[in-house]
Symmetry: C2
Subunit: 362 residues, 2 copies
């Protein structure tokens, strides 16, 4: 056989994609034998045959169709992931871990963004079902997540990420929010703050927020100081500013501090404080949930509760793979990570607070 240049040899034919039959013909064997080669059954093939097929595959630059394989065997090696907000740094960081772990296990991730809309979430789940995903990683869009089971086959392995359902029928991977909130609260109280407020988006139907609210109330009660939970609708322009202004105008119970219940809330809090000319921590101390790349850059640095997001991503896939391995016959399992308080200037001791103005205000 005259061998052309490598470039020519490897050119992929235009038009119909090469199939197992093309390879079989070129190698002078049957499809079945090629299939055995593809499944790596080297014990059962003669060395000569193996080599022939190997060459044919290389020459044709052949890649078996995962579609056809899936149809036959029922294994798509596809995992679906639906997040409530792709632009949330938390989601992205988790996604990275999940992606890595999927690749390691030979699975492909199909990522979707519900944008926080339960309706869109339902649509996406239906779409993923059509692709016969083998497992689902779900970061619930919000209230209404109870309908998830209806949209999916009852035996589909599901792992809930960050937010869970009351039922407890699914695996779950997330943070110990109560403990994390307790640590944050005690840190502030320990630093002399006496009038605390938790800023959160509307709690209803979102487990994370509810838990963080609970942890806050508990810790505040234990410390015997003032603590209010304030729900802020971030879609409403100026809502955050109004909430902060109201808090600052309240009766003087001692040094004031806020805890922002999510990365987005942290951002909006700092923005609003800047607009109101509130100094951090002089006028108001701040602790934020979720470590953000800019946490150390703003003002005196923002104290945050960091989550091990990459590890969470790995854990969520592992949880799914474990379930896959047992054909979904295991009890629902929760994997709970611990947050880590990263202390910076925004929560410095109340007395010692150097009254630094936010930069850029003069």
């Amino acid at each position: 056989m005259s061998r052309g240049s490598p470039a020519e040899e490897y050119r992929i034919p235009v038009g119909r994609a090469t199939t197992i039959v093309d390879v079989a013909e070129r190698a002078g064997v049957s499809k079945a034998t090629v299939s055995r080669y593809l499944s790596g059954k080297s014990e059962v093939l003669s060395e000569a045959t193996w080599k022939q097929i190997e060459d044919a595959v290389a020459a044709l630059n052949y890649r078996p169709s995962q579609i056809a394989r899936s149809l036959k065997g029922g294994h798509t090696r596809l995992i679906g992931m639906v997040v409530a907000d792709v632009t949330n740094p938390y989601s992205v960081a988790v996604l990275k871990g999940a992606e890595d772990e999927c690749q390691r296990a030979g699975y492909m991730l199909a990522l979707c963004n519900s944008g926080g809309s339960p309706e869109k979430e339902q649509l996406l789940l239906a779409g993923l079902r059509a692709y016969r995903i083998e497992g689902l990683i779900l970061n619930l869009a919000g209230p209404g997540g109870e309908k998830v089971p209806e949209a999916m086959p009852a035996d589909l392995p599901v792992v809930l990420l960050d937010r869970h359902l009351p039922a407890g029928r699914f695996d779950f991977v997330g943070l110990d929010n109560i403990a994390a909130m307790g640590e944050a609260t005690r840190h502030l109280v320990g630093n002399g703050y006496r009038d605390l407020m938790l800023l959160a988006e509307p709690l209803r139907g979102v487990s994370v927020r509810i838990e963080r609210g609970l942890g806050f109330r508990e810790a505040v009660a234990a410390a015997g100081c003032s603590g209010e939970v304030c729900e802020v609708d971030l879609r409403q322009e100026g809502a955050m500013g109004a909430a902060l202004a109201r808090f600052m105008a309240g009766p003087d119970r001692g040094p004031r501090a806020v805890i922002a219940a999510s990365g987005l809330v942290t951002l909006r809090t700092v923005q609003a404080m800047q607009a109101l000319g509130l100094r951090m921590p002089g006028d108001l101390a701040v602790v934020g949930f979720d470590e953000l790349e800019w946490s150390s850059l703003v003002g005196p640095g923002i104290t945050t509760i960091a989550q091990p997001t990459y590890d969470i991503g790995i854990a969520v896939v592992r949880s799914l793979l474990a379930r896959l391995a047992t054909h979904n016959m295991t009890e629902p399992r929760s994997t709970i990570f611990t947050g880590r308080l990263v202390v910076r200037g925004s929560s410095a001791p109340a007395g010692a607070a150097r009254h630094v103005r936010p930069a850029g205000e003069g």
Copy 2:
């Protein structure tokens, strides 16, 4: 037929997924007829039949297998997207636009992260090929991207995102980097800065960086002021600090300013400046590429060149869909967006610069 409770009626059978045959049996028709229903051929079906099938589908909560459909028709309705860095806010913002547009067109996105490694990129492309994606959105990992064509069927529609190849064989969607860089440079010169430096990750093999370098040199030459391009390897601890220190220690040619060639470089620049105690813009003015959520929060606010990322995401999918529609028979097309300079305090006029210390330094 006795009807159970809705909940019971809709329960999805465990075990084998329901197929078109189940629906056909329940509706008392043939699979072919069900298939016609699924393809929406209402003109050709009797109203009674239509209704029967409709009921059966609902009762069984049936969803046709996209896998089987793909195998038959060759249309997977799957689009692959490989990005160099999922954690880059640019990528995420584009992803959001792309995702929305895909959903609108009834396509599903399979997202992969090459992590900037050309080897991993090759692996991912091979994986996507197995799934018979109909189109590919590719944000090249870096040097070595020339091998992409080999990994993919020659007739696969490809759109390059942000970074392109010299060959120009593919569609491309990205920014007019030369113009954007020119605007940034002229802005700084206009505000009295005379000694400029462009901070970028190593240019070699990454078109965006090369173009930004080019645009910088051109603009600086046109303005007749000093301008150096400094390549910084961000993986090396302290490299950014060293580069900045060296720049500051150079001969006095007038007010100094840096342009950070990407969002990540901006972050590292500001971090290093803070570590070195450099005031912004007093000691050093800053303009950064890519608008970041925290741009307005740090110091006096960071002047940035904002990209219309969401629109870029939409454009990249549209470009692909257009190519899909013409069976890949169109000439390679480039869609170039224009950056927008968002002016903030970090590049305030050199004379008028209020010497604000980064907050938190005392």
